[in-house]
């Protein structure tokens, strides 16, 4: 590629002080995300998937030490001052959280929460921001958006909350959406709906999607490219079909063989 990739991560290392000396969450990790693609990141718990997303958005706890570089459109994100970082968060890079109940403010109506993003970023008037929020609710296929908008998060079902989360992530028209296990907290039928919604929104907005999950089935449906993480590194990166048909790294092979398949008796 002749131009800069959308997001370029070079030699990123993150460690926290832990009970037994320093705990290394990420170790010299390299990763690129180009515009419009869907990158799946899979790996077991503790492999550093979430730490990577938090590092991109500058949300790591203050006592963690971070080395390396994270560049968005060629500009360094690490060590960026709060005001400039806030201008990128939400507007350029957005995030969908795993647990939609705890990621929505229980005391804010859906509409207030959604319209906060365009209000804070675009300097949009409250009225216009609300109009935009209603459009977004409609875009993520929430029935009766007018009524739902006036409700509080606890009045919505899990799948609907996750739709609201997705609407919230996309309302600022970001280039990159980071999704941290967006379907783990949902039941299977709702999972499928949310995945197809993510796919649809990606096609519609052209945003790149970084999908973090431990569910290989989820990435197989959506991702163009898959990175397999283990122990804070990406051990294998490949096109989706290639990774499933010819896994190179022994860990990837182990991961794939650990998936239950219908054709074999358990």
């Amino acid at each position: 590629m002749n131009e800069d990739p959308l997001l370029q991560i070079r030699d990123l290392s993150v460690s926290y002080p832990g009970a037994h000396g320093r705990f290394t969450a990420l170790c010299e990790l390299n990763l690129e995300v180009s515009a419009g693609e869907c990158l799946g990141l899979v790996g077991e718990s503790g492999s550093g998937k979430t730490a990577l997303l938090l590092a991109i958005l500058g949300l790591l706890p203050a006592q963690s030490s971070v080395r390396g570089s994270i560049r968005y459109r060629g500009g360094e994100l690490l060590g960026l001052e709060a005001a400039r970082l806030n201008a990128i968060r939400g507007a350029r890079i957005a995030m969908v959280f795993q647990e939609p109940m705890s990621a929505l403010n229980p005391y804010m109506r859906v509409i207030d929460q959604l319209s906060e993003v365009p209000h804070v970023h675009g300097g949009m008037s409250r009225r216009k921001a609300r109009q935009r929020a209603l459009e977004m609710l409609e875009a993520v296929h929430i029935g009766e958006p007018e009524r739902r908008a006036r409700q509080y998060p606890h009045e919505l079902s899990g799948g609907m909350r996750q739709r609201v989360m997705i609407a919230m992530a996309l309302i600022g028209e970001p280039d990159i959406v980071l999704a941290d296990e967006p379907t783990t907290a949902l039941d299977v039928t709702v999972q499928a709906q949310i995945l197809s919604l993510l796919q649809e929104m990606r096609e519609r907005t052209g945003a790149a999607l970084v999908l973090v999950t431990h569910d290989l089935g989820v990435v197989a449906q959506l991702a163009d490219r898959i990175g397999v993480m283990r122990g804070g590194r990406i051990v294998e990166q490949a096109e989706c079909t290639q990774l499933f048909s010819q896994p190179q790294h022994p860990y990837t092979q182990a991961l794939l063989s650990a998936m239950p398949r219908l054709e074999y008796p358990l």
Binding site: A94, F97, M101, M108, Y152, A185
Partner: protein, 294 residues
């Protein structure tokens, strides 16, 4: 349901649960009655709280002659003086509590959300203020500024915000780690808006309970100050100064002590009951089932 936390309650459900708490509703009714009559009755009564009637000193309570609760040693109507005392005590209780809640919530929320050095500095200041002895502090203030009503608001408010600041700071610290706060940060919400829109509303449950418990404490503080002669300026009376006057004459005329003391105890008791009801209503896991069955 996962994550079905008790924090969804600041809406009509809270009111419904509170209505099930009979004690709190009665307490609220009694308080409302006292507050209203302290506003209305003195305006309708032929007597006032300051004109001495030297031919009618220290009358016992009677149904004849118009002085229902008798008169004090200067011949002033006790009922009117007690109602004025109620008015002053409630006013000080509410105003000083408001000051302490606003200051305490802001201070604690900012310290807790900012964290780090800011937090340490702000909370050390609270620790220092905690160690200031309250009574000498108020005495110095009254010496400097005279016995003014607003001084009581400031003096009591200045001391009682410390507890709230500590409690709120602790809550803010744990709120800060919650996902929806991170989600808001990820959306690029700045610190001031974050505290105003996300932190403070989620603290309100704790604050409301604490407020209803602060008001009676403040009223008792004021009574104590007035008892020491540091409160309102004569001839105006607060419940504390009426109790002080009554105590000096209690062998001969016990009703001068008993009436204001009973009213003060009732007010404090009612606020405690309301606080109790609110706590139950805000915490659906705890006790409210029992009240619903009762």
């Amino acid at each position: 349901m996962p994550g079905s936390t008790p924090e969804y309650v600041l809406n009509s459900a809270l009111w419904q649960r509170l209505r099930c708490h009979r004690g709190a509703m009665i307490a609220a009714g009694v308080l409302l009655l006292l507050a209203l009559s302290s506003l209305i009755v003195p305006a309708l009564s032929p007597y006032d709280y300051y004109t001495p009637q030297l031919d009618l000193i220290s009358q016992p309570p009677t149904l004849r002659g118009g002085h229902l609760l008798g008169t004090d040693p200067l011949g002033r109507d006790l009922l009117i003086r007690v109602l004025w005392g109620c008015r002053i005590s409630l006013l000080i209780g509410l105003a000083a509590s408001c000051i302490s809640i606003v200051v305490g919530v802001l201070w604690g929320a900012i310290a807790g959300y900012a964290g780090g050095t800011t937090d340490a500095l702000m909370m050390r200041m609270v620790d220092v203020l905690y160690s200031v002895p309250f009574v000498p502090f108020v005495i110095v203030l009254t010496v400097l500024f005279g016995r003014e009503l607003w001084l009581m608001f400031v003096a009591i408010g200045a001391v009682s915000w410390l507890d709230i600041a500590r409690i709120v700071r602790g809550e803010a610290l744990s709120l800060k780690r919650r996902e929806f706060i991170e989600a808001a940060r990820v959306s690029g919400v700045r610190a001031a808006r974050m505290i105003r829109r996300h932190i403070v509303p989620n603290l309100l449950g704790v604050v409301i309970i604490y407020a209803t418990l602060t008001i009676p404490t403040v009223i008792l503080f004021e009574a104590f100050m007035s008892f020491l002669g540091l409160g309102v300026r004569v001839p105006l009376a607060s419940l504390g100064s009426l109790i002080a006057d009554g105590a000096s004459d209690m062998q001969a005329h016990p009703h001068l002590l008993l009436v204001p003391a009973t009213v003060l105890a009732t007010i404090v008791y009612c606020f405690n009951f309301i606080g109790d009801g609110l706590r139950d209503a805000l915490d659906p896991h705890d006790r409210h089932d029992r009240h619903e069955q009762a």
